[in-house]
């Protein structure tokens, strides 16, 4: 029973995170490109419940911060200018679901106060907002790429398993070729032949395509294994004895067998592909400026002076960690469910 509770928790957490980034414009207080040169490399804004005079307020608030005279990055709070955090407030305009213009944000503060929950970067762009927008890119790139790889893999694997003979041999040999190259090198090799600079949308499609198309090998092999062993089963032969055609057998017997495998594979592949997108963008071969991806945000943190002085810039590298943990937990739970399903319960 405990397992079930843990499983539901992981699933709901993952769903919540994905919903959150899907509504990036709403959740993020600022636009991903809005620059604020007066507030470059600001440390995360401190949220207070108690003001400078020691009074307690129910509504959290922030103070206006400004750069001290002559200093490069010394920001001080101004006790005389408190700004309460408002919920469902108006802010930068964005497109809800990419279609409807809206100005409603989950939370924010009124100008000239700033709510930089996770600090800002070199151009004064709010890191929190950029992480949320970037999450939209990275998470869904991983998800879509995994879907793509799985679709190709299931197709190839079932055709190979169901056909046998030279069709099977060819598909397996080709998949072996794809799997013989270290995965990231293969990724880069394909990336190499495609144009380097692209607009964000094309870049996104490109990244998803590249990652998905090159990684069909493992799912295909696994699906083929299931289909092959399925074909040998006596109940498939019995069905043939009843006069069943190949399509019926595929639909009614073989494909359902691949479902649990496909699900588990998804849980295994998604984190790997999220990482692939992050790495590609980090190296400058994925989503580029100004649209944030966790990868290209981490790139900024690679510079030594940033790394040492501005600790919040490394947060984009930490954010994927709980996501990965969540997916791995999901994969484990699915694998256990898969194993326990196949045992016969009627005998002792």
């Amino acid at each position: 029973m405990r397992q079930r509770g843990k499983f539901m928790f992981v699933v709901s957490a993952l769903v919540a995170v994905h919903l959150l980034v899907l509504f990036a414009g709403f959740v993020a207080p600022y636009d991903y490109a809005t620059q604020d040169r007066d507030h470059a490399y600001v440390h995360p804004t401190r949220v207070h419940l108690m003001d400078c005079a020691g009074r307690f307020h129910l509504r959290p608030f922030v103070y206006v911060t400004s750069l001290q005279e002559g200093a490069l990055s010394d920001y001080r709070e101004d006790c005389s200018q408190p700004a309460p955090i408002r919920f469902f407030t108006r802010g930068d305009e964005y497109l809800l679901a990419g279609l409807i213009p809206s100005q409603l944000h989950l939370f924010g503060v009124a100008s000239p106060a700033r709510l930089y929950l996770l600090g800002t970067d070199e151009f004064g762009r709010d890191q929190f907002s950029r992480i949320v927008y970037g999450g939209e890119v990275s998470l869904f790139a991983g998800l879509l790429a995994a879907l793509l790889a799985l679709v190709i893999g299931v197709l190839a694997g079932s055709i190979a398993g169901a056909s046998g003979g030279w069709v099977d041999e060819t598909i397996m040999r080709v998949s072996e070729l794809f799997m013989a190259v270290p995965w990231f090198y293969l990724l880069l090799a394909l990336r190499a032949v495609l144009p380097l600079k692209m607009d964000p949308v094309s870049a996104f499609i490109l990244v998803v395509g590249v990652i998905g198309v090159l990684n069909w090998g493992q799912p295909a092999r696994l699906v083929r294994g299931v289909v092959l062993s399925g074909r040998e089963q006596n109940f498939v032969q019995a069905a043939r004895g009843f006069g069943a055609g190949r399509l019926y057998i595929l639909k009614r017997h073989l494909l359902p067998m691949t479902f649990s495998l496909a699900l588990t594979q998804m849980a295994v592949l998604v984190p790997r592909f999220i990482l692939a997108e992050v790495l590609l963008s980090f190296l400058g071969l994925g989503i580029g400026e100004p649209f944030p991806s966790w990868g290209n945000m981490i790139n900024e943190a690679q510079q030594y002076h940033v790394l040492v002085s501005y600790w919040w810039m490394i947060l984009p590298a930490l954010v994927p960690v709980p996501v990965f943990l969540g997916y791995h937990g999901l994969a484990d739970a699915l694998r256990e469910k898969l194993q326990s399903q196949v045992r016969f319960r009627g005998d002792k």
Binding site: R240, G241, A244, P256, G346, D347
Partner: protein
Amino acid sequence: MNPGGRTLTSGIAASRPDGASPSAAALLRLADFSIDYLGSDGEVVSALRNVELEIREGEVLGVLGESGSGKSSLSNAILRLLPPNGRITSGRIEYRGKDLLALSQSELRQVRGAGIALISQEPALALNPVLTIGRQIIDVLRAHRRVSKEQAMEQTRAMLREIGFPDPDRISRAYPHQLSGGQRQRAAIAQSLICEPSLLVADEPLSSLDTITQAEILELLQKLKGELNLSMMFITHNAGVLSSLAERVAVIENGQMRACGTLDELSSLDDAYVRGLIFPEKDLGRVLVQPQEPNWSVTEEPFLRLRNVSKHFIQRHIFSRRKFAVQALQAIDFEIREGSTIAVIGRSGSGKTTLARCIAGFETPDSGEVSFAAEVANQSRGVVQLIFQDAGSALNPRFTAADAIAEPLVIARQASPDQRSQRVRQFMEEVGLDPSWASRIVIEFSGGQRQRIAIARALAASPRLLILDESLSGLDLPIQAQILGLLMDLQSRHGLTYLHITHDLNFLSRFADEVIVMDDGRIVERNTPAVLFQSTHPATRSLIEASERLHAPGLEVAQ
């Protein structure tokens, strides 16, 4: 009196050298013994409840029960080898007076292998695949005795020779995958006996072997019992085997002891369940003297005819990939009449299964033809249905019983969904399943029940000929008898002709009109059971003799 005329207690007195009664001291005693298991869904299942058992020095106690009665838990529990989710909830196990449950790990280790040794069901699984036989036996020896390497090898070779291996050196250097099933079981027995334990616990040691090998191993155990004065706990569902080995028998039903005593005493008890276990053939009707006439009108023309059918296979060695041809069927010729029940017997590799598959259409013969009577041949598919050996793999585990049974109707696009569920209910009732279980998934049924589902499914295809390919082998004898009875019931109702492929002769004289004996891809004999039991053909004789040694039920011939 023993109904059916089968005498079961003939062999035992002869095997004791001095005929004296066993010593009064108990070697092993179980008192108030209970075991629970924790299921994966959190449920607690009680496997054994308050079991009382006693084995005396030099005695063989048989433990007779069906699958699921808890008898395997018994063997594992004695040496405290239960899986992690099993627990001993009460009772004592006294071995030579000491409570095994109270021993420390190191004391327990000394008892294991040297005091009490275990032989399990699947010999292939009990042997480590990457170690040589010799190594595995020596490791057991050196775990209990201080011997030098040379002495250990010497003793191992002696043991292997005793077990019946003429070339112990070759065997001790071999790996398990290089031996046959019977050889592996012998090797496992050698491993268990190398430290000369006082008590051997054998958990269904014969079930995974074919008839002839079963008889050989049984003979070996009898010999060892005599020579080493070995005490044994022999767990099985086959009472016939016990009759030549066990002094007393304990009957277990659903985790509880139902009766205990000599086989004579048990068979005269007024207990239908116990008698059903000892004489599973009792409800199968009378012994057939001559082929039965079907009670529906049949054509004169032979129902099924095979003419000069041959088939060979190309097989590959697993590792060397060298190909070689196996001639599975050679010039097979025979006919069968409609409504008859024909048994095809032969040892493994004789070609019986290939024959079944050729008739069923799963394989095409290389030469010759398989033909049916004219009016049958015009019928569409489904004339011949094959019931597989393992009902577990013959049914899609994710299907419900209703899905499985209705499948032939769905594929043939006959009958509306309503008609289908009605017919499913009908078939389920016919085969003795509760129709309210129709929406349960296949994996929730027991082995015997799954085979009934398979039969119901076959019936749904409206067959004329039903081929049962070793369909009963994996089941307990009492269940085998029940299913056979069911099949005989269905025969007249549905106008069926049966072809039973089997490697053992259980119940033969009760259900078979005629028997065909196969050996090496050829038919060597064909007769009624009565005549067959007098046969002098070597292939037939070896099968019959092995079955007699195993006291297979249904071998008698009416006087």
